[in-house]
Amino acid sequence: MNIGYYPGCALHGSSDDYEESLRACLNTLDVQLQEIDEWICCGATAAHSLNQKLSTALPARNLALAERGGFGEMLAPCPMCSMQLIKAQRALAENEGLRREMSGIVELEVRGTTRVLNLIQVFEQIGLDRLKAALKSPLKSLSAACYYGCLLTRPPDVVEFDDCEQPRSMEAILTALGAKTVDWSYRTECCGGGMTLASEETVLDLSHKILSNAAAHGANCLVVACPMCHVNLDMKQPDIEHRYGVRHGMVIYYLSDVVGMALGLPESALGINRHFVGKA
């Protein structure tokens, strides 16, 4: 399977352990990722908060680059990126005036024809049957709380993925690979997103609640599919423990980490040793 790849700033920055993980995992499954040449930042929270036009233009440029590269589909592993890209793609596909305006601003013709996928969708496209067939080490020791965060399933009329209140797409993958998943209440509660630097207290507060609820429901790890969530729950976990005087000791896996482990890849190949919180 050949698919376009839009890493986004986080996966080429301090969250490049996520890229290491998903590249190793997808490579094992014969998925070739072709990075979009000259991709730029999608704008993230800053753009949609401060300038509406920019928040469409920056993704539009990336969509134009993808179209120029001949990609019908593109993986954007960061849900902030994927949500912004899908939002722009939908708006462009439906509005000729917008297409003309954006094409002018970004200096490339953009039609909004690229389908943007998140990592879960890529695994779904590969198919649970194929994953089961390639299973080498069932994830028997995992009692996982699958954490979706905000932007994988919201806004539902934009991303149209899974159920926005009770998603189960990650659970389906984990169950197929032999893991136990827990029923818990904070699947789609926000971790604080990109406010890690701007408003640290908010992030610590929200992420602490998520970790606590997962633990209370019997989880021994979280599985995430977002680099910002991973930073807030993993890198900031020591700060959370310090602030609330509680020991969480909760390992935070990327989805590609657990799939990769199930397929027999060593933790070092998946960048798991680069996380802040390791197994107890």
């Binding site: 159920d163 926005c164 209140e165 009770q166 209440s185 509660e189």
Partner: protein
Amino acid sequence: MSRIGVFICWCGENIARTVDVDALAQEVSKFPGVRCALNYKYVCSDPGQALVREKIAAEKLDSVVIASCSPHMHLKTFRRAAQLAGLNPYKVEMANIREHCSWVHHDRAKATAKAASLIRLSVEKARLDHELQPIRVPVTRRALVIGGGVAGIQAALDIADAGYEVVMVEREPSIGGKMAGLSETFPTLDCSQCILTPRMVEVGQHPRIKLYSYSEVESVEGYIGNFTITIRQKARYVDISKCTGCGDCWSVCPLKRNKSEFDYGMGVRASIYVPFPQAVPARPVIDAKTCAKIIRNGCGLCEKKCKAGAINFKDTDKLVEEKVGAVVVATGYKLYDIGQKQDNASLAGYGEYGYGQYKDVIDSLQFERLLSASGPTNGVLKRPSDGAEPKNVVFISCVGSRDNAKGLPYCSKICCMYTAKHAMLYKHKVHDGQAHVFYMDVRAGGKGYEEFVRRAIEQDGAKYYRGRVSKITEEGAKLVVRGADTLAGVPITVEADLVVLAAAMRPADGVAELAQKLNVGYDEFGFLLESHPKLRPVETNAAGVFVCGACQAPKDIPESVAQASAAASKVTVTFAADELMREPEIAGINEQTCAACYACLRACPYHAIEQAEVRTPRGVFVKHTARVNPGLCMGCGTCVAVCPSKSADLEGFTEQQIYAMVESLV
């Protein structure tokens, strides 16, 4: 040579202010066929009608045109006046120079000219009017009531007490509907079954009511006064004529843990069961989906135990025919499904409330069963997960109602009242408990209703928060409910032991299919359409079919009962005369020219056209033809439009008349 009299009404100021009625009368008197034209202040008044009758006699008029208001207002009045003067009432035409002219224009000259054109059209039509006689239709004085809830029961009793036979069809094993499952009813807090079961027994024992329980309407043929209904009696596997209701069968049944439908899943029942002790008929039914004997020829204990020999595993569905003259639809409601699975793409459940995920998040009907003295917990309030007595119960209003995004946009009317009732009944059972109600508005418009809600707040200590709940999470053994109070402007978090969701009211399943069989309209939500929301709330546009209760719109018990009696009175009006009179302005097929292509039959929305044969007096076949059933035809004219040989025409609005009217204008 026509002798048409034209009477122009001033309608006080309504017409005369804008239309020059004198000039109009002058101009109109010159139209071909007009014998006399005059104007008068109020033609509909007694002296006005007298004037019309005088002129008919004096001028030997053979047609009359009244230029005044809409025919919806006074066509009947003027037809009666003409008839009194000896003129066939269908030789009366009305030109609407009020709603269609003086009420919508300001320019006097132009309005007068338009009025003249409108009158010209009516004059041309009147010249070609035929004398017509109303159609007489025999009437079978028996009624069908579909649905055995409180509305159906009321309608059936009223019609039966008036002296007519009633056939009642109920698809559950027992009548009683949703009301039989309620604990107590607002605003009196009467025990629901206590006030309903006497009526249920009356229905079961009434000499003129024939009850088909565990049955459904299979098909409907015919028309007002002359319906043929086919009823499917579903297989009970129990012969209720032999069964004594002793209960040996269900006590010996080994499969006792099926989820009870009557308890909405809060309780269990055996595979052979009576839904509740006061059921009418109080005879069991076997659930073929779970019975071991029926599925794999095992067990059979009930058959062995039954002293009356009433169990019959070879039972099958039976089709029965009944002839009735009127139908009352009282099929009631169901609750909006709060979970993820929906039967309609525009609906989505409320996953954020965890219904279906958390055992202690239930809906209002489930709570009624937990409250009910004859419920699965015998009236002791135990929460579903661990049977503990809940000390903090949260009630959430408007779940699925008033929600344009993923629910239904309308208000379900009864939830504010029953939520207050729930808060009160909860407090009466758990004295140290606290009820928390999250509401958007409190709608308590009935008699004593506002006072009832205040009682819940002031006497029974219910806490009312004005705001919605955004999410329910499970933290430890508690359900954490996060909502808001917009009056204080603060978020409200309640740790609840039990959450009750006031789900929206929707019409019962299968109502669309039933409506199609009856030719009754229904709206986008499935509620059956009344003829006029203000003035004809229990009639439908299908003559002879009436509606009452929650199948027409969300409503409470007093309103359902009132509507049921109203529907019953309409039925008794239908049965009052030996024959029914129908308007003769219906379609007719010229059987000589008809080619029997049956395009009209396929096009007719009322299924009023039949395939027929033309035969000689000795019975020799001549040709096929289409034929209009005068009982069913509503005079819509669709057949006239599609007929390729121009064999179909509409009495009272013939093609010739239409061409004459159009030509008179150009």
